[in-house]
Amino acid sequence: MKAKHQRLILALAALVALIGAGLLAASALKDEAAYFYAPGDVKTKGVEPGKPIRLGGMVVKGSLKRAPDGVTITFDVTDGKATVPATFSGIAPDLFKEGSGVVAEGSFDTKGTFVATNLLAKHDERYMPRELEGMSYNETTREIEVDQ
């Protein structure tokens, strides 16, 4: 094979790989990247049941309840615009509590309840999920405040 041809073939292979990768990324991102939802987005955009997403917001005060099996909890997540019921089976992180921020990974069931498989709460007092920046829970009015 001539050197010139070889360089051409190599360049073509690289180009094909690059375009392939780009298309793959684009299609995967289109499906998966609309990944983080606040309750308000769920209401306006709608999320099909079973689609894996992250739901982020504040845990509504007084909504946290534990099922008799001792390992399942139910709670409501709100961003001030809408409220979504959620359930989680497992060991909740220590900083997961009412009135505090949470990012839940999971999907909606057919009844519109969010079934979380994983809860991400703050790791320590200094850490806040970035998606929740600008949200805070007002203790006195029991409302979410969102700075835009």
């Binding site: 070889q6 292979a13 995967a28 991102l29 609309a34 990944y35 534990r66 390992v71 060991i91």
Partner: protein, 642 residues
């Protein structure tokens, strides 16, 4: 006093880096040997000075000197000494000092030990290393001074994040950083070679051991980090596609590609421009990773502090160095002669495929990691998570594994396609029988990716041993063993990953002391809950008697409370057997005196990290083999002249 010594050493090192840069380039330009003679001593002195600064900071942490701001905000006098020591780099400034120290010491090592490289390229390389170091010295001194004082000194410090109070902190960041920053040497080699127009086989042979060494440490660091996250977070997972994990994976992917292409350049003098490009990309990925982690721009457990000023500083450095290197590449690469051509069926082609696939994975991980940043610039908040990465990286990684099995069975220059096919008959039969066996065993119960993963791991594991087939094992060179072991390690690791996702059994219960729990053939008797105390924590501990046939063993999952800073962490109990791990996490108390327990049986999960260690061991043997051959040749030459 110690803090001032450390700071002075840093300033001196920065001044020496500037001197080294000027000396190297004016010396090379005007061809002045007397100027060039000072370059190596400058690099060595810089390495010594950064080491002094680093030791100074370690000493301050060990002594709990609260008059130093960094110690006061990140340490506590009641901490065990290991965490005082390792806590030195468990914060932003300390970890950047570790970064700069590794860079300085690596530069000194290149000055002292590099003998194979042509002298002018060697000098230009050292100049390049000085240029990169300079930016990071500036970053440390102007925006992240680890030695800043605090007056008045507080009575005690604020403590270290308890998640970091683990022996893992002593091992994972240093190995990772040696790998990460060790790649700066490859970057500098590329700069040096472009400047002196020496992109050839001799250059590749000189660069290879440095790339190998950095890659071995990076592999170890990632493996250690993955195991640490697995047992410390108590989530039972070993890889979360966290941006910071991606930040360490991306340089590893680039370095793996570089490792293979530099071998093509060294043995066959082909892939010249591509190899230089990869060397630039590898360290660029290290810098991108540092930017992502240190700017706090992405959500991550590793992001210590969010400081926009620091973020823009690193972004500036990033643009300067990557842009500069790419500009140099564009300007000089035309002058690099065409490399040697090769046939379509050849080892070279297989390595090109390896490089393409690795680069594609790298690109996809990079896009996925940066995509949230790009969309946020347009006002959307988006996060890209495991579903994206699993979906795109999984299939390509499996294809890469197949290429890895085939590659070593193909000869350099040209081979016969039919002969190669014959060599693959046995692995192919193994793949077929494994798929048949798995289909009978677990059809419909495991996903397609874990299924393919198990099949490919088995077949590739056997195929990776094939290069030793019918060879005189005693006369096989050490680096061939290195390659075989590293490739086997990939198969072993893949097997562990696939087995974990295919066969893990999880059980979640709320149990009272005295209860008996059964899962996956294990019997767990929940004996009691008791409070215990450690050095700087108190804990509730569950005592559990577990057995699977045989004699019972006690395990003790804990929920620990740390006072400074006030945090609760869960310490999972792990019981390792040859065929897997039992993983038990203690949750909180619920009504009825019951305790939450999360129990996993993870068959062969340990293979994931065993494979990682094998990969690193293979790299180490390859390095040793090449170096030893060099020493032997030198020794023989000397004996012949004497």
């Amino acid at each position: 006093m110690i803090a001032e010594i450390g700071l002075a050493a840093l300033w001196l090192a920065a001044a020496l880096a500037l001197l080294q840069l000027v000396l190297a380039f004016t010396g090379l330009k005007g061809n002045k040997p007397d100027l060039l003679a000072a370059v190596r001593p400058a690099a060595v002195a810089q390495g010594v000075l950064t080491a002094i600064a680093f030791i100074a900071l370690v000493t301050l942490f060990l002594r709990s000197d609260m008059s130093v701001l960094l110690v006061a905000t990140n340490s506590h006098s009641a901490k065990p000494w290991l965490y005082k020591f390792a806590g030195t780099w468990g914060n932003h400034e300390g970890s950047m000092l570790l970064w700069v120290t590794v860079m300085g010491v690596a530069g000194a090592a290149v000055a002292l030990f590099e003998r194979a490289l042509r002298r002018d390229t060697h000098m230009a390389t050292l100049g390049g290393q000085a240029a990169i170091s300079l930016g990071f010295y500036a970053f440390l001194l102007f925006s992240s001074n680890p030695f800043a004082r605090l007056a008045p000194a507080p009575a005690d410090g604020q403590g270290l994040n308890p998640l970091l109070q683990d022996p893992g902190l002593a091992f994972h960041p240093p190995t990772l950083y040696i790998g990460y920053v060790g790649l700066s040497v490859a970057f500098s080699f590329a700069i040096g070679a472009l400047l002196t127009r020496q992109v050839d086989a001799a250059f590749a042979r000189a660069m290879r051991p440095w790339v190998l060494a950095a890659w071995v440490m990076l592999t170890l660091g990632i493996t250690a980090g993955s195991y640490w996250a697995y047992y410390e977070l108590g989530w039972g997972g070993w890889w979360f596609w966290d941006p910071v994990e991606n930040a360490s994976l991306m340089p590893w992917l680039a370095a793996t590609a570089l490792l293979h292409s530099v071998t093509v350049l060294a043995t066959r003098d082909a892939l010249r421009a591509w190899t230089v490009m990869l060397a630039v990309v590898a360290f660029s990925m290290s810098m991108v990773g540092t930017f992502l982690v240190r700017s706090g721009i992405l959500t991550s457990v590793h992001a210590f502090a969010v400081d926009p000023e620091r973020g823009s500083f690193i972004l500036g450095l990033l643009a300067l160095y990557i842009g500069g290197a790419l500009a140099l590449f564009g300007w000089r690469i035309g002058a690099v002669r065409e490399g040697a051509p090769f046939e379509l069926v050849s080892r070279e082609t297989m390595l090109v495929i390896n490089n393409l696939l690795l680069t594609v994975i790298l690109g996809l991980v990079l896009i996925g990691t940066l995509y949230p940043l790009m969309t946020e610039a347009f006002g959307h908040k988006v996060s890209v998570g495991a579903p994206y990465f699993d979906r795109i990286a999984g299939p390509i990684a499996l294809a890469l594994m197949i290429a890895m099995a085939v590659g070593p069975l193909v000869r350099w220059r040209r081979d016969d396609g039919r002969v190669v096919t014959k060599r693959l008959v046995i692995p192919f039969l193994i793949a077929l029988s494994l798929s048949a066996w798995l289909s009978v065993l677990a059809w419909g119960r495991i996903g397609i990716l874990p299924f393919l993963g198990l099949v490919i791991a088995g077949a590739v594991g056997v195929a990776s041993l094939a290069p030793l087939w019918k060879r005189n094992l005693r006369r096989t060179p050490l680096f061939t063993y290195g390659m075989v072991i590293a490739h086997l390690g990939c198969a072993v690791s893949l097997g562990g990953m696939a087995s974990d996702s295919a066969f893990t059994v999880e059980k979640l219960v709320a149990a009272r002391p005295g209860d008996m729990i059964q899962t996956a053939g294990w019997q767990l008797r929940f004996v009691q809950i008791q409070p215990i105390a450690g050095d700087n924590w108190t804990a509730l501990q569950a005592d559990m008697e577990v057995r699977r046939g045989g004699r019972p063993v006690m395990i003790h999952p804990q929920s620990r409370f740390f006072a400074s800073p006030p945090t609760t962490t869960s310490e999972a109990a792990l019981l390792t057997r040859w065929n897997g791990q039992l993983y038990v996490v203690l949750g909180e108390e619920v009504e009825g005196g019951r305790w939450q327990l999360r129990i996993w049986w993870k068959p062969f999960v340990t293979l994931i990290w065993l494979g990682g260690i094998l990969i690193a061991l293979g790299g180490f043997l390859a390095l040793l083999g090449r170096e030893r051959r060099g020493w032997l040749m030198k020794w023989r030459a000397r004996a012949a002249t004497a």
